[in-house]
Symmetry: C2
Subunit: 293 residues, 2 copies
């Protein structure tokens, strides 16, 4: 299976599961549920893909693993809704569509994000995700840490604060490890948690995720400078406009490109202990370099 086929499969599987797991709009709260579904539509589904591939490495049943994949996507989608708000990045376009607060309104967008976060933990706590409550608790502990004040949300806070300072490469790296890296790391590690894997493969996946996440972010910064807004489905040039410190503003274009290639290749070396089951993870580490959106 090629990476493209696998990504498409993931997208379809995730869309079906989202449709099953997300409540249908009825009652007076219909608008909220519509906004939740809207925010959970489309996107690359990178995190679900990583979770599903991670599960494959340890023979985890896909029917269970896709629930973890959707839980991660709930957290990711909620963070995008809130990041796009006028008080935050003030973005009007996401995945080629109006952002949630533009399509609905600000209050609904805030609440849809809040409800998606609660839903992520509800999905993980449900026995359908894994029969062993110890495993479910480990998933919840890992995801709540990855999403919280020392993970994704903390990284977003630092990102906003950085606009008023002159951060060095260490700070920018730390902020991205928190803002996007933590959730990518959870995705890569989730199969090991579900499969009750030993320490060695778990650490290998964490190290892979670390390098992959940073490579992904460096390319994100490159795309903001060089990317085509029509292909990306979101605004470009926002970092330069806002005077934001990025890998590009600190390292320059050439060294940033080199750095992304180095991180991508280093990511693959951490997969050496896995057999061909990890090939799609190897492919995705190359794909992050060539993506256009």
């Amino acid at each position: 299976m090629t990476l493209e086929e696998a990504l498409n499969d993931t997208a379809q599987l995730v869309a079906r599961t989202v449709d099953q797991l997300l409540p249908r709009p009825e009652d007076a709260e219909a608008k909220l549920l519509e906004a939740m579904r809207y925010a959970m539509t489309g996107g690359k589904r990178l995190r679900p893909f990583l979770a599903l591939q991670s599960g494959r490495l340890f023979g985890v049943d896909e029917a269970n693993m896709v629930r973890v994949a959707v839980a991660v996507e709930c957290i990711h989608a909620y963070s995008l809704i809130h990041d796009d708000l006028p008080a935050m990045d003030n973005d009007t376009l996401r995945r080629g569509q109006p952002t949630t607060h533009v399509r609905f309104d600000e209050a609904t967008a805030i609440l849809a994000g809040d409800a998606l976060q609660a839903m992520a933990f509800e999905i993980l706590a449900n026995p359908l995700t894994h029969s062993d409550p110890y495993v479910r608790c480990n998933l919840i502990l890992a995801l709540s840490k990855a999403a919280g004040c020392h993970g994704m949300v903390g990284g977003q806070m630092i990102d906003l604060e950085c606009e008023n300072m002159n951060p060095n490469i260490g700070m920018v790296t730390r902020l991205h490890q928190m803002k996007t890296g933590a959730l990518i790391a959870f995705s890569c590690e989730s199969g090991a948690i579900m499969g009750r894997a030993s320490k060695e493969p778990t650490h290998a996946l964490r190290a892979f995720a670390h390098d992959l996440g940073l490579a992904f972010q460096v390319v994100d910064d490159l795309l903001d400078v060089e990317g085509d807004p029509e292909i990306m489905g979101k605004s470009a040039g926002k970092d330069t406009e806002s005077g934001k410190a990025t890998f590009i503003s600190i390292l320059g274009l050439d060294r940033s490109r080199e750095q992304a290639e180095y991180l991508s290749s280093q990511a693959r070396t951490h997969l050496d202990l896995f057999d061909e089951k990890a090939d799609l993870l190897r492919d995705v580490s190359k794909f992050v370099l060539t993506r256009h959106k």
Copy 2:
């Protein structure tokens, strides 16, 4: 012990535990952690009190139960931060202090709310809360449902939608059961989950919470009309101003007062199967009628 002493004890215990559990502001995300601590300061601590009293009924160790109490308070505090935002209720005063987005800024307030929600689930998933992961999963499942799109957040959505319609008493009741009732019900039930109680006492506590929560809300509506903003530490008259449908606007002042008294006394009948250990819960059902803030 009088109810007042017990409430004071709860407030001190919760403040100490919040101080231990919430990370200290260091690093670049310091502002976020400060905002989280700010939002977790003060308040009646009604939900933690209910959780701790519920735990007492089943002999749950207070050191464990207070973690559940703080988790509920994290959810409550995050909901207040987000409800107060300009895009929502646009409140500037809460507990006699500037609301979080006024004291800090909007972006920080949104993120502090998000991080507090993640922290609630992180606290519950931690083995220190209960040694049995099955119990921890049950807590997380119950709290995520109470907080999510068919609970607190859904209720807030309906509340906002109601401003554009003419809701009947059934709708207003349902919205409050979701918006405030669900979290109060979780608080009352949490001791039964922690103590692995049988169905009968669990259902009794849920029924108690149902009536208590509604009584609490009717009094809230009464205070908005008759309360002293200085004592309450928040603005009054907001419901009338916004033309919001409340128990008062539908039932009138006299019938609302009667209804609150009826609900309070009905709440107590559900506690008949408990001995004097439930006396403080009986007291609190009377207290909601006489509170001034």
